[in-house]
Symmetry: C2
Subunit: 331 residues, 2 copies
């Protein structure tokens, strides 16, 4: 016999509502109660994602995580952690890839999965503040990653400006004087690259150095191939940099490969810092210095936000997740 929500409630001596709150990860359950309910769930082999559906219309136990690219190591890592964090709350995550396509982002934003899921975790690329303002779908929504001037939407991100400033300051503190930035995206709607550029410039200014347009290298995408090409361009310039801050680890790993091809030793002649702390950078030779966003915390905060929206209607909230600079062998 399959255990029902009611069976768990009886077994734990609590209300059906309380079991539901535990299953859905809502915050306002006392830890002792939560523990008792979880013990009953385990004892009865209760499967929340099927049975919770009967609680009220629209409760499916499923969440959507919408990302531009599932094969970007950063998003793949974040997705795997989000799946596990949700699993711990009895929720299942379905991962969806938009390729950053504006139409697909818009359709998802406006409820294309509303009948399937209880909430959407959304990492937008092409979505504009106007798209967000025009949203009428009421499925709980949390944006992941930075987005400029987002009205009326919950939001979890790290402080990209501060992180980029720290990464650049780390290079300057080591005595580097010509620090390039690889990852500028002048035509992108995504705010992340813009904020990392702001942090980079702020560090230069704080050190009394001018910003130099020749050292701010635009890229098409944030992939290895782009970093590889950007590094070759920089090394071809009349006055090459002695350090590079790359806006993603993928860019930095492409740049590292290019430096190797040109016989430029890292870190002696060229220091490199990436961003994202993907596993790849831990095993490269030399291992990559990088900014590590706390991805487990981002996943947990995002789930907290969804649960809070479902339980406590109120104004949208923004939460900043922590990050830290991991110094390895490229600096």
């Amino acid at each position: 016999m399959t255990a029902k929500l009611r069976d768990v409630a009886e077994h734990a001596g609590v209300s059906v509502r309380t079991v539901s709150n535990v299953v859905n990860g809502f915050a306002h359950v006392a830890p002792a109660t939560r523990q008792r309910v979880q013990a009953s769930i385990d004892a009865l082999g209760y499967r929340p994602n099927l049975a919770a559906r009967t609680l009220r219309r629209g409760r499916t136990g499923l969440l959507a995580l919408v990302v531009p690219e599932v094969d970007s190591p950063y998003f793949a890592d974040l997705a795997a952690r989000t799946v596990r964090a949700a699993q711990a709350r009895g929720l299942t995550v379905l991962v969806e890839q938009t390729d950053g396509d504006a139409d697909r982002e818009k359709r998802l934003l406006h409820g294309d999965r509303a009948h399937l899921v209880d909430g959407v975790l959304f990492s937008p690329w092409a979505t504009t503040p106007a798209d967000l303002a025009a949203r009428t779908d009421t499925t709980p929504l949390v944006l992941l990653g930075e987005h400029d001037g987002t009205p009326g939407v919950d939001h979890v991100a790290i402080d990209n400006v501060a992180a980029a400033r720290e990464a650049t300051a780390h290079l300057l503190a080591a005595g580097r004087t010509r620090v390039a930035a690889v990852g500028v995206q002048p035509h992108s709607r995504n705010a992340t690259a813009r904020q990392r550029l702001t942090g980079y410039r702020a560090a230069l200014t704080a050190a009394g150095l001018p910003t130099d347009p020749a050292l701010e290298v635009p890229v098409h995408r944030l992939h290895r191939a782009d970093g590889h090409q950007a590094m070759h361009t920089l090394l071809d310039s009349p006055d090459p940099p002695d350090a590079v801050f790359c806006f993603t680890d993928e860019l930095a790993l492409g740049a590292l490969r290019a430096a190797g091809e040109r016989g430029v030793p890292v870190p002696t002649a060229l220091a490199l810092v990436g961003f994202d702390d993907i596993e790849d950078g831990r095993y490269s030779t030399p291992a990559l210095t990088t900014v590590s966003p706390d991805k487990d915390r981002i996943a947990d905060l995002a789930l907290d936000h969804l649960a809070h929206q479902a339980s406590t209607p109120g104004p949208p909230r923004s939460t900043t997740a922590p990050h830290r600079l991991l110094v390895r062998e490229t600096t």
Copy 2:
């Protein structure tokens, strides 16, 4: 006004059934007809994944792709390609991660997503032939990757035995005589590692060389950390290998890092071959020689299988996707 299937059929001058066949990527539509229907779909801005649902009960325009780890570069790459291949057929893929957990694999196998999706592409880790034989859910299902003795289930995979034999033969042809295999998984239910070991041994035997248990290194998982540790173990042995065939690129990249830490030059003192052709291996220094499964073809074949099951009931089919050895700088 939202375009309906019927509108597309009228616009294209074909039956609703034909539009549905095009939308679902069924094979038995003449190319000219397919083209005409696609033009009408584009002209009317028809959204198959919503409207196709009205065609018959259970048609959602959604597919599930179930993988053990979304953050494994191989599965992330395969997932991204599958999403795009499905997109080209007007279908949406939801990606789900099992962590190779036997219970979750079993629940998905037995219909945990049956009400949401039209088909399941499933890369199992812990599933046994008995689990498959016990399946009663009728949602179209295609297994991705090797699985020993799978009864009654469609199947798309590369020839892992042949691929591993070629990778090992490539090392032997270069004059290497002590070729290790990293990636043996004696306790795993997954057949992939077993088949790659079979291919490795076959190549040794064909070259008149004995197999040596000391050169067959078991690993816990197929990740970078496992390859890193395995390589250190091999280099600590009294008679280290002059070449290593790793069963995944992740293992090989971990091994490459370990070789660098020990000052063992690659490829001169140690040649390395990986498996999977993940992007990471294209940008490592030295770039990784690897077996490249045709992932686009795997995705396309898997979708063909689903469409075929939906349109033409019949006995299960197995299809082999192509692979090739990419020789780069580690050999």
